[in-house]
């Protein structure tokens, strides 16, 4: 396909709005076919008779292009005689080297060029980038696409050079190491220089470098019928960290090739010319499979490869509280990056400290050789033979696609009592637990419970919670009422009148057989009068029978009751002055009547 270098059409046009005779233009070289494996040169040229200081602060954001180097600045001046006048013209050129990032459209947006205090902008340049050579050209030994070389930088003669990246497998398990090799194939080309221009990011891999010497490791290879010198210029071991489709982006390198001038003398004595070209690898696609879930041991921690385990104590006998080192080494082909410490079921008679971990990774024969060592410090706490069970380390074997377990040998540590003397007659210091264990079972004391609900879930709790809320207003009311009563003297007397009257009558009744009749009847009459006095909060001293009668009548006591009250009082008066009325039976009758009258009045009032 023909190259589309639209820039060429724009070259030579004056910048819009240019003042004076200063011209600013941008163009690219080569102006013809552009491929993604060869660099471009971007030129920004400023021409005029009297140029100010020229600079470009920043290039705009390029599309599908990146800057390899630049700017480099060059100036030139020329003088022209016009009649008797000498006219001077000068030019400043700023040069950038660009590399297409891939096939497709590319664009250099307008570039702001600073001319003293003035800013001029160039026209945008649009390019169509074609795919360059990244693989051996078809057609065997023939140079199939001579046009891919940058203009003015021809490859050396009929030589063919290409880069190739390849992995040892296209499908691997997660954390299975896979070698990656980038090889430079050269046929009939004299390579004088090689430098890397672009590396992929390896975002989904752990990467281990494999040292190597491309020249020393050079070998002959036939590719599509043509013999090449193959230089393994880069070796890595990749360890995919997550399942899925992984892509390794292209590597890019810049090559300097010797170019024949055609003149044997110049070639011999001057070394000839050189050409610069860029080669890229194709992307490498890798399918990463997740580790199977079936059969995965519970303590599997991610080791993938083929491993062996060694476990050893630094001694087989020790005293109590001695420090004994247990070194466990897991080594083999594969990755131990994520491997956790092997399971160590140490007996309770051993105090186990956190292990010290040392790692060693090497590569040989395209394999990743990993060694990880865990070193525990064990302190025996009690004398006796301590048996340390075999240390186990589960891993996934990618060759067989099964989980396996590396297992060490059981170990025996003979522990003797410490013969170290204690400091002073009594060893002083903090008491520390020698080991931890379960607290012992509980004995049976009393009956077993059928499960009482918690206190806050019992009905009694809720009742006791709610009861005060109900009781408090009642109690407050009652207490207030009683307080008010206690402060009303008349009411208190009235409420106590009947009880006091009964007490007085009872006291009088005890004297029926012993006292004289006059005193008895007087006491009965006084008890009745005092009852009325109490009931009406009056003094009994001035309470005549008539007044008492009026008071009772005023409170609605009926005539019969009042008459009965008065009759009783008059009967008592009569008996005080008539001794024969003071028989015991008569006294009893009077007392009974007085009590009945009190009850009658109490009900009526």
């Amino acid at each position: 396909m023909a190259a589309l270098a639209l820039a060429a059409a724009l070259a030579g046009l004056p910048a819009g709005g240019a003042a004076g005779d200063i011209r600013v233009r941008a163009y690219v070289e080569p102006a013809g076919r552009v491929v993604d494996t060869e660099p471009l040169t971007l030129m920004v040229a400023v021409e005029g008779s009297d140029l100010p200081d020229v600079s470009i602060r920043d290039l705009p954001r390029l599309v599908n292009l990146r800057v390899l180097n630049g700017p480099s600045k060059s100036t030139s001046a020329s003088f022209e005689m016009q009649g008797t006048e000498i006219r001077r013209s000068s030019s400043v050129t700023l040069r950038y080297t660009l590399l297409p990032e891939g096939p497709g459209p590319a664009e250099i947006p307008p570039i702001a060029v600073q001319l003293g205090s003035e800013v001029r902008r160039t026209e945008a340049i649009r390019l169509q980038v074609e795919r360059g050579v990244t693989a051996p050209p078809p057609g065997g030994g023939r140079r199939a696409r001579p046009g891919r070389m940058a203009e003015g930088r021809e490859a050396a003669g009929p030589g063919v050079v290409f880069l190739k990246a390849e992995t040892s497998a296209s499908e691997v398990w997660v954390r299975q190491p896979v070698p990656l090799t980038v090889t430079l194939y050269a046929s009939g080309a004299d390579i004088r220089g090689f430098s890397w221009m672009g590396f992929p990011s390896f975002s989904s891999f752990w990467v281990e470098e494999v040292p190597g010497d491309a020249n020393a490791d050079r070998y002959q290879a036939d590719v599509e019928g043509r013999s090449y010198n193959a230089f393994p210029v880069l070796r890595r071991i990749l360890i995919p960290t997550s399942p899925g489709e992984a892509t390794i982006d292209p590597f890019a390198a810049q090559l300097q090739l010797r170019r024949s001038s055609g003149d044997p003398f110049e070639d011999f004595f001057m070394g000839g010319g050189s050409a610069v070209l860029i080669r890229k690898t194709d992307p490498v696609h890798l399918r990463v499979r997740p580790l199977p879930e079936s059969g995965k041991p519970p303590d599997f921690s991610g080791a993938v490869g083929s491993f062996k385990i060694r476990a050893a104590l630094d001694r087989t006998d020790a005293q109590v509280n001695d420090a004994v080192a247990l070194k466990v080494t897991v080594e083999g082909d594969g990755s131990l990056q994520s491997a956790a410490a092997p399971r160590l079921d140490a007996p309770q008679d051993l105090k186990v400290f956190e292990p010290k971990i040392t790692d060693s990774v090497s590569t040989s024969g395209g394999k990743l050789r990993s060694v990880r060592t865990w070193e525990w410090v064990l302190v025996p706490l009690a004398p006796g033979d301590v048996r340390i069970p075999a240390v186990r380390f589960p891993y996934f074997d990618p060759a067989a696609a099964v989980y396996r377990e590396a297992r060490g040998e059981p170990m025996l540590l003979a522990v003797r009592r410490s013969d170290r003397p204690t400091e002073g007659p009594v060893a002083r210091g903090a008491v520390e637990a020698q080991r931890r264990d379960l607290a012992f079972i509980k004995p049976l004391r009393g009956k077993l419970s059928i499960g009482r609900p918690r206190l806050d879930r019992r009905a009694s709790f809720m009742a006791l919670l709610v009861l005060p809320l109900i009781l408090s207003p009642v109690l407050i009311g009652v207490r207030r009422y009683r307080t008010r009563l206690s402060q009303d003297r008349g009411l208190v007397r009235a409420r106590r009148a009947r009880r006091l009257a009964r007490k007085r009558l009872d006291a009088t009744g005890h004297r029926i057989g012993v006292g004289d009749a006059a005193a008895f009847h007087e006491a009965v009459a006084r008890a009745l009068v005092e009852y009325v006095a109490d009931r009406f909060d009056r003094s009994p001293a001035g309470l005549t029978y008539d007044v008492a009668d009026e008071l009772l009548a005023a409170r609605g006591v009926d005539l019969a009751a009042r008459s009965r009250f008065r009759s009783c009082l008059e009967a008592c008066d009569f008996a005080r002055f008539v001794p024969e009325a003071g028989t015991a039976s008569r006294k009893t009758e009077t007392l009974k009547e007085a009590r009945a009258i009190v009850d009658l009045l109490e009900n009526a009032l």
Binding site: E293, K296, P298, D299, R436, D437, L438, A439, F440, I441, K442, P443, L444, K447, L448, S449, I450, G451, P453, R454, L455, D456, R457, A459, F461, L464, L465, P468, L469, L471, S472, L475, I476, V478, R479, R480, T483
Partner: protein, 254 residues
């Protein structure tokens, strides 16, 4: 709930009344289990404790001893399950807490829980030491003191003075603190249903069914919060935010 408890209690009483006729009371079975444990016959001990539980007994000592026997038999998940149950029945028992911590330390999984500030840890330790019952009792006591003070001062002719007001304020503050603490303790102990992994390892899936993707794997003894249940599957979550579904038979609900 209360009705169910009563029914269970009645059944338990009936069974325990019947037990002598069958040859052994729950207490005798428990003692037999203790005897087997002391002789190192942990399987016999565990079976005896399970028999006691089948009587309907809900006693922290039985759960605790069964947890000890299961631990000695190497059944870490079952051990933690019964220690958790014992803790719910006797939250203040230091042996239960110690054994639960010890058994948890043997779990394979280490789940990073969100960091809890030191003051909150201290408050929780105090709540655990007191237990929900003591806090509920303190609430009752404080409530009665508050209402006694209110009744006394409100019915007095002199009414309230500054001292009485301050005493009331302090009592109300204490009541609020102890009450909320008791509720928080109960919520922490019983609020979230918990299940313990009993199988050596369990794949936690994205949904309730074998066809769903495996999200992560948990191992024996790990306590999981139960979020929901569906047929034979339980939706669980971890303190670090991971969640998924596990088969019901692989876990034991506390």
């Amino acid at each position: 709930m209360r009705a169910v408890t009563r029914v269970v209690a009645a059944l338990a009483l009936a069974v325990s009344a019947l037990a002598p006729a069958l040859g052994e009371t729950p207490e005798e079975t428990f003692s037999r289990g203790n005897g087997a444990f002391e002789k190192g016959r942990y399987e016999d001990a565990a079976e005896a404790y399970r028999t006691v539980l089948r009587y309907g007994i809900r006693d922290s000592r039985v759960e605790y001893n069964l947890g000890c026997a299961a631990f000695r038999l190497g059944r870490l998940g079952e051990s933690i399950l019964h220690f958790e149950r014992a803790r719910r029945l006797a939250p203040t028992d230091p042996d239960v807490r110690a054994n639960l911590d010890f058994a948890r330390s043997r779990c394979f999984d280490r789940v990073e829980a969100p960091e809890v500030a030191a003051p909150i840890r201290m408050v929780r330790a105090a709540q655990d030491a007191l237990g929900p019952d003591r806090q509920a009792g303190a609430v009752l006591l404080l409530l009665w003191l508050v209402l006694g003070l209110v009744v006394w001062r409100s019915s007095r002719p002199g009414g309230w003075n500054a001292t009485a007001g301050w005493v009331l304020a302090v009592l109300l503050l204490l009541l609020a603190i102890v009450g909320s603490s008791g509720l928080a303790t109960r919520e922490r102990l019983e609020g979230t249903p918990v299940a313990v992994v009993l199988a050596p390892s369990v794949e936690v899936r994205a949904g309730p069914g074998e066809s769903n993707a495996v999200l992560f794997t948990v191992h024996e003894g790990l306590a999981l919060e139960v979020r929901s249940e569906r047929q034979d599957w339980v939706q669980v979550s971890l303190p670090n935010g991971l969640n998924g579904w596990v088969p019901e038979e692989a876990v034991g609900k506390v």
